[in-house]
Structure formats: C-alpha cells, structure tokens
C-alpha cells in the first residue's frame, strides 16, 4: 500500500511541478499578440475554406495585419460585408468583392446518357473514377456520387437524376467542390455571368453524341453565330470568353444539343 501511495504522490508531484513551471513560464514569457488580431479575425466568417489563398481564416487575418498591401476583398464567402468591415478596421480603401459561384459543366443526367456499368463500389466519385475511367458512358461527365455535395459547407449541392446540381443561390463560392471533383467539372466563375457551356467532353462530335445526347458535338455553330466572337471551339468543346461575352444568349438558341445554356447564376449575396 505504501508503495502505491508513494508512487502516486511522487508522480503527482512531478506533474504539479511541470504544470506550475509551464504556467509561470507562459505568464512571464508571454508574447504580446497584436491587439487588432481578435477584431480582424472576428470579421471573417470562419469557414476556413481557403478561398483567400491563405491557410484558413487565421492565416488571412495574420497576413492582413502583418503584411502591407494585402487586399481586403479576398474573402469570397464573406463578400462585400466582410470586405467593408475589414477596410474600416484597418483603415484602407474598400474594394468590391467579385462574388463567385461554382457551376457544373455537365448536364448529362439519366435522360440523356446512361451508365456503362452497375457500379457497386465505394460511394465516392474519386473511387469510381479509378475504375475504367468512371461509371458513365461519358468519361468526362458527372458520376453523381456526390463528393462535391459531401464537402460543400453550405448545402448548396444536391444530387438529382444521377448528377449533381448546384443551387447558386446557396453557393458561397469557396471552391471546395471544385477541388474534389475528379473530372474537374466544377469551375468557379463571377456570379454576374449568364452563359454556360454545360459539357466537358473533348472527344470528337460523333463519339460524344453516342455517349450523351446533351454533349457538345463541336459543330462550331456557336462560334460562327456569336456576334462578338466570344465563343471558340477548342479540342472539340465550345468555350466562352467572358471578357467578350455580352450575355445575348444567341449561342444558346442555335446550339443543336442545347449544351450551351443561358441562366441566372447569381450567388448567395445577390439581392
């Protein structure tokens, strides 16, 4: 009994000595943190999504305080509100945040294409992609297993008819879904744009057509008809240059497969 008691007491004593030593050391040798840090950090939404290009909200807050000339409009999820608050706090000019949304460049749902296998593996696009290039006939398209929906911090993505859909009204533009999609179908674009090519297939037109009736067959009609020359077909896929595009919607009208669409992609911050 005495042995156990002595052991308990001596280990406790060592623990207490260590604790006191650490407590004293952390008080005596405390390093002053910039008093602006908690205020700046409080302005940020705390999603730690990394859209600003720093390691989480803490990283961005540190960069804002310590480095000169870091812009206050890098927080896409926070939008204008956060940018304004940061600018007032740090005394720099306010800059408008270009709100971004994520869009999926595939509309190949069950009605226009079909799966090439009865996939029963791990419930993840990343895993399915490793098996003969994906579950669908089109190796470029959405497999609808929902890696993007799983990572979305704001529940903006739902799975319907075998593919993922993004409700841009819910989208904060953090870009996490774009990073997990194994087919790189999701892009982040300014939410003011209206036109979108909803296909990512770069195979020849005839091949694409057999796989999916919604796909871009590279007929170049859009390229010829576009009044401002904003659409070009590269690698058998139509691409829109948003610097030139005037949102007239003519390409969507002439597209024979309907893979160019005109729509409202305004994000969560648009009134």
């Amino acid at each position: 009994m005495e042995g156990i008691l002595f052991a308990i007491i001596s280990v406790t004593a060592i623990g207490v000595i260590c604790a006191v030593m650490l407590a004293v050391a952390s008080k005596v040798m405390a390093v002053k943190e910039d008093e602006r840090f908690p205020a700046v950090r409080a302005c940020l939404p705390g999603a730690n999504c990394g859209a600003c290009g720093y390691a989480g909200c803490d990283g961005y807050a540190h960069a804002l305080i310590e480095e000169e000339g870091i812009k206050t409009n890098l927080c896409v999820p926070g939008a204008d509100g956060v940018s304004k608050a940061l600018s007032e706090l740090l005394g720099v000019a306010f800059e408008d945040v270009i709100e971004q949304v994520a869009v999926i460049k595939c509309r190949g749902d069950c009605s226009v294409t079909s799966p090439k296998m009865d996939y029963q593996g791990i419930d993840s696009c990343k895993a399915a992609k490793l098996l003969f290039g994906g579950t669908g006939k089109c190796a470029f398209g959405c497999m609808g297993l929902g890696d993007c929906a799983g990572i979305c911090p704001n529940d903006a993505i739902c799975l319907e008819n075998g593919i993922a859909h993004i409700n841009t009204r819910q989208c904060i533009g953090c870009g996490m879904c774009a990073s997990v999609c194994p087919n790189k179908l999701i892009t982040i674009m300014p939410d003011v744009e209206k036109m979108l090519v909803t296909c990512s297939n770069t195979e020849k037109g005839a091949v694409t057509r057999k796989e999916c009736t919604h796909g871009c067959i590279a007929c170049k009609k859009c390229e010829k008809e576009c009044p401002v020359g904003a659409v070009t077909v590269v690698d058998n896929l139509a691409r829109i240059d948003y610097d030139k595009c005037t949102d007239c919607g003519h390409c969507a009208e002439v597209c024979p497969t309907g893979c160019i669409v005109k729509g409202d992609f305004s994000g969560i911050h648009s009134a």
Binding site: G3, F6, A7, S10, V11, I14, G15, C18, A19, M21, L22, A25, S26, M29, A30, V31, L130
Partner: protein
C-alpha cells in the same frame, strides 16, 4: 545502483557511430515514422525538423537520466518510467517552445511547427528508455542521444533527396502518393542493413 557503463573515448565513438548507422532509429528500429514521412518533403524542412529532434533528444536525456537514477530507482519506482518520462518530455518541449517564442522568435517560426510534433514522438521516448535499458552512464547516454538524433538527421536528409528525385519520375497511377513513398522508405531502410556489423569491426 547497478553498475553503469562508462566507456572510454573509443567506446563513446562506437556508441555514437552505431547509433547513427547501425541502430538508426528511423530506418532500423522504425520509430518516428510519422514525422519521417510527413516532413521529409523538402530538404530545408527536413533539416529543421532533424535539428529540433537532436536538440529535444539530448535535452530530454539530460533531464530523464537523473530522474531515473536519483528518483525512480532508489525508491523502487522503475515501473513508472514510461509515464514519468512522457510527462517530463511533454512539459519540457512545451517549455522550450515558450522560451523560444519569447527570446528567439526567428528560430521559433522556423522550428515552431515541429516542436509539438516532437512532443509525442516515440523516437524521443525510445532514446531515453533505451539509455536506461542499456545501463549507459550519463556521458554515454548523452552521446547515444546525440547519435540517435544524428541518425534521424541522416535518414531525413537522405529521404528528402530520394523524394525530390521521385517527383521527377513517372509513377504508375496506382502507386502515386503514399504507396510509392512507403516502397521508397523500405528500400532506403534495406540499404542501411549494409551497415550491420561494420562499426563494431571497424573499431575492434
């Protein structure tokens, strides 16, 4: 107190060299693999981490050796070794971190992220316990810790080099990432078996 080993200068050199090459903690004893695979991506990071490990290994040996021989052994508490050592090492590393943050901020920002990693690194605990198991005297223990740290350093730097070469090569898709890393680590480890027996015979 049982008889401790107090080797002469030649004995110390043998301890040092065999700790670096023959009993390499990472490549022969497979301790501290987590940090070995995690931080060996870039040479400068690998160097920083290794220097931190050398420092912490020597510091914790300097503290745990007296605790073992002046507190635990005389009171028959040898069985409390593991728990006491973990406690002391963890507290020590935290203290070092606080001190560095205050007085040498540049070193803290360079070494800071590795220190918490070392806090619970099994290689550090293993060094302190093996020093006791082998009945090394204080000086021999310190030399053994230095050698173990240097061994970690050698392994890290070597593997950082291997990894930088691997980045240029074409890895088959199924091997990309961790699998090829483990294969490479295994081959580097096998290469260290070549040192077995060399050091003892060199100095005999």
């Amino acid at each position: 107190m049982e008889a401790l080993i107090h080797p002469d200068f030649k004995g110390l050199v043998v301890i040092l060299m065999s700790a670096v090459f023959v009993n390499n903690y990472v490549l022969q004893k497979f301790l501290g693999i987590c940090s070995f695979l995690g931080v060996s991506k870039k040479l400068d990071q690998a160097t920083g981490m290794s220097l931190a490990v050398i420092f912490v290994m020597m510091l914790s040996t300097a503290v745990t050796w007296p605790i073992q021989y002046y507190l635990l052994n005389p009171n028959g508490l040898g069985y409390m070794q593991t728990i006491v050592f973990i406690l002391v090492i963890a507290a020590l590393v935290q203290l070092v971190e606080i001190v560095l943050k205050k007085y040498i901020p540049s070193l803290h920002s360079a070494m800071g992220i590795y220190l918490p990693l070392i806090t619970t690194n099994c290689a550090v605990l293993a060094v302190t316990i093996l020093n006791v198991d082998k009945s090394y005297g204080f000086l021999a223990s310190m030399v053994n810790s230095l050698g173990s740290g240097l061994g970690y350093f050698v392994a890290m730097v070597m593997f950082a080099g291997v990894r930088s070469r691997m980045e240029g090569g074409e890895t088959p898709e199924s091997f990309q990432g961790l699998p090829i890393l483990l294969v490479a680590a295994a081959i580097v480890s096998v290469s260290f078996f070549g040192f077995a027996g060399v050091i003892e015979n060199l100095f005999s």
